[in-house]
Amino acid sequence: MFGNLLPSLVLLTSASIASVCPSGLVLQADHRCHYDIRYLKQLGQTGLQKSFAHSDDGMDPQQIALGKLLFFDPILSRDKDLSCAHCHQPARGFSDGLAQSKAHGLSLPRSAPTLWNVAFSPALFWDGRATNLEQQARGPLFSPAEMAMTPELIEKRLNQIPEYRNLFLSTFESDYITAENVISALASFERTLVSFNSRYDRYVFGEPNALNDEEVRGLNVFRSFVTRCTECHTPPLFTNFQTAIIGVPDGNADPGMAKTTGETRLTGAFRVPTLRNIGLTAPYTHAGSFKTLADVVDFYDRGGGRHLPHPSAYLHWHIREMGLSVEEKKALVAFLLTLTDESLLPETPSRVPSGLKPLPGPHRPG
């Protein structure tokens, strides 16, 4: 009985800290954090202001705060050397600046996708094999090549850390930490990573001077049917959540969606990535094939890739030679850079309950 007294004191403190929503979210009457996003505000918005479909059931503020600590805590890897933030570094658009992510000094097959606006994606991983963030988190956590954990090891480790026990007790009303609840908290935190306040958004919502002339020209090239960019990178999320074969050479014959679906015609097909914060997440494509946005624009301008890893796979039918002028390509890149917005970037915690170093790891190029 006495043993429970101290934790409940800590519980009170942590609960009061955590009942605040991060910026960009608003605590509503259901005591949950709901999005405060212009594109989700009203029905019937059209054109560039068009709202997108999303059911906002809200997130528990305590889970968000707890998930943030877990996100940065290397305790979640077998060798205590990787946190989620190692490959999804806040300072690098929640990617890692690498063509292919690394764990334990070895390269993984694909690049780390950004987590900005990941809450709104109905499919996760480059090959879309997870349909929600809870499912997705199990991938890197339990992959032997990555964090190499097991649910048992997570529970064993975290239940030995009193601070985590207290936090979980106040959040989940159970003094035993389950892997399930760990994943649930991580997902809640990831759902708060939203970016809709770029200069582009300000332009869309009535600030004509938020973009300069070249950037507006770039937007119009982006929307043009010579490029057809918006067909797949549809505003406001700048993805239509479909998959496409664009034929980039990846050097390792990545099967892509063929593995997810068992359909050989989807060999080399990958999820259309968002372009939000694209200026922060170089290099580009699933295999990091392009170092700069100018390289990507050139690639599409030339009609995409001819690297089709399976005879039954076809290049996406919207991709063809564009014949853009040098100025148009430059304007397009200038426009893409207006999609940068880190106004709701969460602060990296100064410490995590395990006492391990919370910052992203040593492989920080550049």
Binding site: T46, N220, Q242, E263, R320
Partner: protein
Amino acid sequence: MGLCKFGRQELAILVFISTLMPTARAKTITVSAGKSIQEAVARAVPGDTIAVEAGTYAESVVVEKPGIHLIGIPKDGKWPVLEGGGQRNDGVIASGSGFEFAYFRVQNYKGNGVMTQGADDVRLHHLIINDTGIYGIYPTRGKKVLVEDTISWGIADAAIYIGMCQYVDVRRNEVFKSVAGIEIENSHHALVEDNSVHDNTGGILVFTLPGLPEKTGFDTIVRRNIVTENNLKNFGAEGAVVSQVPRGSGMIVLAGDGVQFEDNIVRGNETGGLIFSDMDFMADSTAPDPAVDPQYDDNKVLGNIFLNNGASPTGKVRLLLVATHFSLHGADIIGYGKGRRNCIRSGMAATTLGTEAFTQCAAKETTASIKSMFDQAPALEVHQSKDKQSGETLFNAVCAGCHGQGIRLIGPPVEEIQAKYKGNSQGIVEYAYYPTKMRNGYPSMPSQSHLGKVELKKIADYLLGLVPHK
């Protein structure tokens, strides 16, 4: 913060109202030859008319504001002409709702003639469009779209292309010498009526294609069109879906559902007059999409007149006919694949191939009661905060288009839903959130999860409390 937010919403409502109602402030800005239309757009406010005098305008026009009317003033046979010179990308791109574009010629652009992106309540009429690259007239992702009284030709994809739209009328247009005349793609509630469609590769196409965010296409009426001699050699870009349309196709339904053909004149199309096909027939160059039903279902061929179609089929149709019917001739009506619940009116004197599974349509069945899809659209959702919307408003705005009282529209009538979910509004919420295909003979309901469960509950409670009309 709270105050600030409220202010913004009120502003949005005001802005919205001002776009819907012509106000005393609405003005006309006249543009003369030699001046810039785009510059006039920059000065315009919602509700304004930009009147453009005859002359050549070598520019691309982008309209982001709502409620803009861009209207030409042709005089003595001379038109205002948007001229792309083979250099510029698109004639007009508009993303503001309530956009009207009329009395213009648009020619020689590399991309599209006129395109609307995500704009609702769009009216495109009295236009002459030629040689504009990919599409002539292309509204996409819009509700309430009107395309009337236009002429277009020389387009490498579709002259008129309706992409992922709802409540559309395409009426009294002439389309020719293009790869596709009129294409209705992954759209709902479209009326294609009184058009002249000739000398294209394929005349009227109703397609449900894979890989797009909208996974279904249903409820299209194709009525009183004259579809003749669409025998042009296919000049579509390699890789484009339409590049696989066989020359000589009068009308094609590809994986489309709920398309009704009535009172069309269909003559001299050398591959076939009306071809129904499953997805793999033409869309095999696109990556497959498990979320799209590949079959053509619930289509009806009511009274039409067919003459002399299928004289010399080409492409896959030819191969297919040789392989399965030992024939070198096409037919007025061709079925390919495993379509379900399709019917043909008897006594039309049409030649058929592969339509054994079609039944006879009911003798008196007609689309005559539907005069317009555009006018049938539910009131566009207005800018107001979600919590101010009642279940009734939401039901009428979102659901009533498909679920009628005492009548089957697209989905089951209200009474059937009430019987099934009596006392269980949460059941409706769960279903509307993640719909599953429940009934044969009905198209799948699209998920309404974007409304959120709170709003869905309001709708469900309202629906269960509805009393029969008297």
